[in-house]
């Protein structure tokens, strides 16, 4: 466990090929690695480092800057409650207090059964459905206490599995083309017609 699977290694190489410089693939590859186990294991970060031509420390140093990339294990469902201004005005702190009580954990902790990690999020751009919650980056809202309880019950029962993939799985649509323009461009005329009539 931990290493990128052969299928994901292949995907990773296709992603690297999309960028003029391979380090640019670092964050997309971290997302890919995170889709395997829900978090970024040290082994996966080593694989990402090799693919991007950097050291594992550079991968960790970069990944740790970003809220979405987890370098420690998380629950199957990462529940992020937004408490920023629009959600605050709609009762987000009451909601997060309720969530803590209901799940029996504090913000930042994971339930004992590994189902839920509770997070307090910054604005998720769901202010029209405030207070809003993301579960594995899928939106729910507006939510009150009872709404939160039924949402977690549905998740626990696996009834939302289609809508909410496991944590780490971000984009389930794969790019199906390489870069035909770059392939077609002959050396010396990178911008082709667009440059000529400038």
């Amino acid at each position: 466990m931990g290493r990128l699977t052969p299928e994901n290694l292949e995907r990773a190489r296709a992603i690297v090929a999309l960028y003029p410089e391979r380090r640019s693939a670092l964050i997309p590859l971290c997302h890919l690695a995170q889709s395997q186990e829900g978090w970024l294991s040290p082994e996966a970060m080593e694989d990402v480092a090799v693919l991007c031509g950097v050291t594992p420390a550079e991968v960790r140093g970069t990944a740790s800057f970003y809220d979405m990339l987890h370098t420690e294990p998380v629950g199957r469902h990462v529940v992020a409650v937004c408490t920023n201004i629009a959600c605050l005005l709609a009762g987000a702190y009451e909601l997060i207090e309720h969530a803590e009580k209901h799940l029996g954990v504090s913000v930042g902790q994971t339930t004992e059964d590994g189902e839920f990690t509770l997070e307090e999020a910054e604005c998720l751009a769901g202010c029209d459905i405030a207070p809003c919650v993301q579960v594995n980056h899928r939106f729910f809202g507006p939510l009150d206490g009872p709404g939160f309880e039924s949402l977690t019950a549905e998740l626990r029962a696996g009834r939302l599995a289609e809508l909410v993939p496991r944590h780490g799985v971000l984009c389930r649509v794969e790019r199906n083309v390489s870069l035909p323009a770059r392939d077609a461009a002959s050396p010396g005329s990178p911008a082709a017609a667009g440059e000529e009539n400038r």
Binding site: L18, P20, E21, R23, S24, A25, L26, I27, P28, C30, H31, G61, T62, A63, F65, Y66, D67, M68, T83, N84, I85, A86, L88, L89, A90, G91, E122, C123, L124, A125, G126, C127, D128, A130, Q134, N136, H137, R138, L170, C171, R172, V173, E174, R175, N176, V177, L179, P180, A181, R182, A184, A185, P190, A191, A192, A193, G194, E195, N197, R198
Partner: protein, 436 residues
């Protein structure tokens, strides 16, 4: 005044399937691109100049002028900024999920106008559905001939890559966004150079445009820059997508003609915001994202106009309006906004990194009843160290504008509601607690 202006970027959104290629093609999709490709790039740029399209990301810089600054070079890039994270802003979120082909077509038109061969759409990572819809749209655009080698038989070629972010407000700052796209921490770059148009992605000249900005381009090419400029008035042309939230009956997105529609219309008109929630009194509102100084009821008559809002001491910013009512505690609101900046400060510059933490701590103790009267002066003093003079627009002390934006909410709060801050000291805590 509510006007009959056409909906430009949300025209398709009443359709359930607005994100599909079929719907897009049935509603004029990719016709703007075809029309653009039939004209020399200089004419396309001139059309956008005529539209006087202001950038919709927050700074409101004229898009045409930004384009004109692109330094000629063998390799240049176009990067679309979809890292929408300004609190209470959710317009780009809407556009990538509900009309991704419009984003893609706008990007292609911009790339053609600039003579760029490689473009990226940097989409906020938390928009999982948006990433799926954008990726699908890009796949379909390639299959449709709108991307790749020889776009629509024009002889011009373009590759477009959808790039996911990973959660950092600062990556909305264009140089931080480029760092992130290069696979690094989102640290804003030292200026000068002030614009990536000189030195951008991988050191190459790069134009960075916002999602909503490029979403306007298909319409502008189809209808002409003059038709766009005929909407709104002064420098605020066209329509704009406003995001309304907070203590209001009908929070949501509203595409409105700039300048002519007022904040009063947006917040109170039955067809728009529908008034303050529960018939309560309006206390204050934020006119353009949490980096903007607050307004009071006396500013309701202002038009949704970049210059007018600027002259009144704030900014239209990202087009997000947050309503606070009589039950809202302004200390708590200012604290939460400051906490956001503290969490999102990248940490490079001392005034921002340290100042945001100090301010958050002081506001928290005021709210929790451990404040003292001298805290008000201390807050303003710390604000003054981050942005000397605490004026508007703020003085810069840091690499990027995040830090100097922090004092906005605090200074507004204290200036408008000093008594309420003092009441927190006198009563040993928040007097509004339990008001809701």
């Amino acid at each position: 005044m509510i006007t009959e202006a056409p909906r430009i970027v949300t025209a398709r959104l009443d359709h359930e399937d607005s994100y599909t290629l079929d719907r897009y093609l049935a509603t004029g999709g990719y016709e703007g691109l075809r029309a653009a490709l039939a004209r020399p790039t200089a004419e396309v740029r001139a059309e956008v100049d005529k539209a006087s399209l202001l950038g919709r990301g927050g700074a409101g810089f004229p898009a045409g002028r930004k384009w004109s600054m692109l330094r000629p070079a063998d390799i240049t890039y176009l990067v679309i900024n979809g890292d929408e994270s300004e609190p209470a802003t959710f317009k780009d979120h809407l556009l990538v999920e509900r009309d991704p082909h419009q984003v893609v077509e706008g990007t292609i038109i911009a790339a053609y106008a600039l003579g760029v061969a490689q473009a990226f759409i940097f989409c906020r990572g938390e928009f999982a559905l948006g990433l799926e819809r954008l990726t699908q749209a890009v796949n379909e655009a390639y299959a449709h001939g709108a991307l790749g080698a020889d776009v629509f038989g024009s002889g011009w070629s373009l590759d477009l890559v959808v790039h996911p972010g990973a959660g950092a407000y600062i990556c909305g700052e264009e140089t931080a966004l480029l760092e992130s796209l290069e696979g690094k921490r989102g640290f804003p770059r030292i200026k000068p150079p002030y614009f990536p148009a000189a030195i951008g992605l991988y050191g190459a000249p790069t134009v960075v445009n916002n999602i909503e900005t490029v979403s306007n381009l298909p319409w502008i090419i189809r209808n002409g820059g003059e038709a766009f400029a005929a909407l709104g008035q002064g420098s605020s042309t066209g329509t704009r997508l406003f995001a309304l939230s907070g203590r209001v009956e009908r929070p949501g997105w509203y595409e409105l003609e700039m300048s002519k529609v007022t904040f009063d219309d947006l917040i109170n008109h039955p067809s728009l915001g529908g008034g303050v929630k529960g018939g309560k009194a309006l206390k204050a509102f934020i006119p353009g994202g949490v980096s903007a100084p607050w307004f009071g009821p006396e500013h309701l008559s202002l038009g949704l106009d970049q210059d007018a809002v600027g002259k009144a001491g704030s900014m239209l910013g990202s087009g997000s309006v947050v309503v606070m009512d009589e039950t809202t505690c302004v200390v708590r609101a200012a604290w939460r906004i400051t906490r956001f900046f503290h969490r999102e400060s990248c940490g490079q510059c001392t005034p921002c990194r340290e100042g945001s933490g100090w301010l958050e701590k002081i506001l928290r103790r005021l709210e929790e009843g451990d404040g003292r009267e001298a805290d008000l002066d201390l807050l303003m003093d710390a604000c003054d160290n981050i942005a000397p003079g605490v004026s508007w627009p703020p003085q810069q002390t840091t690499i990027c504008v995040l830090g100097p934006s922090i004092p906005s909410s605090i200074a507004s709060g204290i200036r408008m509601f000093r008594d309420e801050f003092l009441l927190h000291v006198k009563e040993g805590g928040c007097p509004m607690r339990g008001a809701r």
